[in-house]
């Protein structure tokens, strides 16, 4: 080792030691009061295998939980699952921790949360994307994602220059297919309005056949291969429905050289994943953060009784919505298409338009 590196290293070591000593010299804090009044209400959540930072529905729920803690002053606890073996023990841990409300995230937990609700009638549960087998202390939360996806499909067809738009899913399950079906009919509706033939690749609701990755692994090679194949088939707007697939889609777009757009799902990905901002057209949001917040607020703050009624997020109650439009370069002006989307939204809310065909 030559002298210079030795000196540089000792200098580095000195700086490191100094920073440690300096760091240790800060004044001790005094006991301070917390800003929000603390409530005696314990809200808890158990994730599925996706973990709380999945940039998708687990994360949305967790943000709802932390928002409730910060703004309402409720106490929170949480547990992540790493395998199906963890679902029941994690829910049990929440019951043992005397949680007032336990949120089970994802349809994978539906059996475990139904069993837990039946065995513990004094504890309240919420199942996101699941259903209740009849227990009154279990509230299912679901979303009519076809409504916002219909708007997304309409916008996609307006944006597309080839008039071919693509979509693919994580797995062929109801919670995913709902997006894709709405998207399909939305794109078809634009074609009918403008006397143009629009083609949707990746999903055919009539035949129930389409492109699926097979799992929800973020940005897998399969995901990229499907995206590349759809671009090859002429699609220039992609709607990947499977959590975080935006990296795979954007890579496929970059490599193909097509001037294509991505439509996000679950969250406004222009906010949550700004690294993909160049390709994002809009997002079909599943606003679980606000649903979780509202449910906790209604009970813990407003003093309402817990009900096992189904909560369905729709365009009407704001549970689902289309995010702000960016990177729009379609033939119609953005103002025109924006006005048209508002008109469609009103039509869906009033029931005049059926986003499922």
């Amino acid at each position: 080792m030559n002298k210079i590196t030795k000196r540089a290293l000792s200098g580095l070591a000195l700086a490191g030691a100094a920073s440690l000593v300096l760091a240790g010299c800060a004044a001790a804090p005094d006991a301070s009061e917390t800003a929000v009044e603390q409530l005696d209400y314990l809200a808890c959540a158990v994730s599925d295998e996706g973990s709380w930072n999945d940039k998708s529905f687990n994360q949305s729920v967790y943000e709802g939980l932390t928002k409730s803690r910060d703004e309402l002053g409720v106490q929170i606890q949480d547990a992540e699952s790493t395998s199906p073996d963890d679902f029941a023990p994690n829910l049990q841990a929440m019951i043992d921790a005397s949680c007032d409300l336990t949120i089970a995230v994802g349809f994978n937990l539906v059996d475990a949360v139904n069993a837990a609700a039946e065995a513990n009638p004094e504890v309240n549960f919420v199942t996101i994307d699941g259903w209740s087998n009849g227990a009154t202390n279990l509230k299912p939360v679901g979303y009519s994602m076809n409504q916002s996806s219909y708007l997304a499909g309409y916008l996609a067809a307006a944006q597309s220059t080839t008039k071919i738009v693509g979509t693919y899913g994580g797995m062929q399950i109801d919670a995913v297919v709902d997006f894709m079906t709405g998207y399909y009919y939305g794109a078809m509706a634009w074609g009918a309005d403008n006397d143009t033939t629009v083609k949707v690749v990746g999903w055919d609701p009539a035949k129930e056949k389409g492109d699926f990755i097979g799992d929800f692994t973020p940005n897998s090679g399969t995901s990229k291969a499907i995206a590349a194949a759809q671009l090859q088939a002429g699609a220039d707007v992609l709607f990947p429905v499977g959590g975080d697939q935006f990296g795979a889609s954007s890579e496929a777009i970059t490599e193909s050289g097509v001037d294509a757009r991505i439509i996000g799902v679950d969250k406004d990905i222009a906010n949550t994943s700004p690294e993909y901002a160049d390709w994002i057209l809009t997002s079909a949001e599943k606003r679980m953060t606000s649903a979780v917040y509202d449910i906790i607020k209604a009970i813990a703050v407003d003093g309402q009784a817990f009900s096992g009624d189904y909560y369905i997020g729709t365009l009407e109650n704001g549970g689902t919505a289309l995010s702000a439009i960016t990177n729009y370069t379609g033939a119609q002006s953005q103002a025109d298409i924006g006005a048209k989307l508002e008109e469609l939204k009103a039509g869906i809310i009033s029931g005049d338009i059926n986003p499922l065909g």
Partner: protein, 409 residues
Amino acid sequence: MNADSQPTTWSTAAKEIVSGGAFRAFLSVILGFIVGALFMVFSNEAFLNALSYLTARPTDALGAGWTAISDGYLALFRGSIYNYQADNFVAAMRPITETLRFAGPLIAAGLGVALGFRVGLFNIGASGQILFGALAATWVSTRMTLPWGVHLVVAAAVAIAAAAAFGALVGFLKARTGAHEVIVTIMLNYVAAGLLTFFFRQDYLLREADGGGTPKSDAPAETAQLPTLFGDSFTLHAGFLLALVGVVIYWWLMERSTIGYRFRMVGHNIDAARTAGVNVSRTFVYAMAASGAFVGIAAVNQALGARAGLTPDLDGSIGFDAITVALLGSSTGPGVLLAGLLFGAFKAGAPAMQVIGLSPEVTGVVQGFIVLFIAAPPLVRAIFRLPPPQKSTVIADWWVGLRKKKVAK
């Protein structure tokens, strides 16, 4: 003896790792817990905050560090052995029953991997054998109607037979073609996972009756479910008893039976065994079949211990945890039993640790370091070609010297 079968540094290391003594295992566990404690301290927010004013008020950092460790391990205790905070008997006793429930498949699969180690085979395919066994068990438990009692026995027997056959296939390929069992078992893990997913996805095969596109099976028929041991308040089921029976059979097989003697001979020195007249190829097939059969007990636990439908990841991490269980248990029956109970406790305690805000990875870190401490000394020696450690004679010399002095007097 031909040249290439001279015991190499590597094979010595491998033998040393899988036959590590009880004392070394115990020390490794202690060291693992110490590393886990450090992990908890240095991931603790209160401790890190207090560290920034260490010189102004050092008690804060020390206190926070101590609280982090004691809270963490007390939560592990509450979650895995006895919940002293519970307000009723059932809740207080549930943790220990959960530990036993999680330990069942770990012990069974650990025995399977341990048997392979004793024969000199690395069975990395426990996960695939569990999936294949569970596939067979699920077919019997959801697609066949049999009377109470018979149904369970048939389903369990079919699962064990299927897992044994899946294992025997590996032994056959090794014996016939010389294919390395590590490669074959890893590849068969993928085969089993793909096959199971395919079966669980097709409605004409094993998909749940009113399910959507999710690959998921029906819940096993009530006649085929492993009965619970202490009523409906506890989920502990008879699968744990099966694992205990497995431990006894394993002990008898390896320590008392003729075939077990052949297994050990082959594991100890394959050439000597061949010279002594042991049919080595056949022993490989039998050993892998026996290994698969023990893993099959884990498949029974997972497939028939469930009360709800199964998903393709039903094996969890058991297949790989089994390797660590076998290593920690020194590949002996009682050792695997104790190691399985320890790792079962880790699994059962993880939710309680999460509730107090510890990341679930802590127990994984502890688990990993335990194995590292067991495997590392021989590995390090093998990498740097160091000689095996000399047994210390300091105390003996001193003792002998003392005696001599006395005699001289």
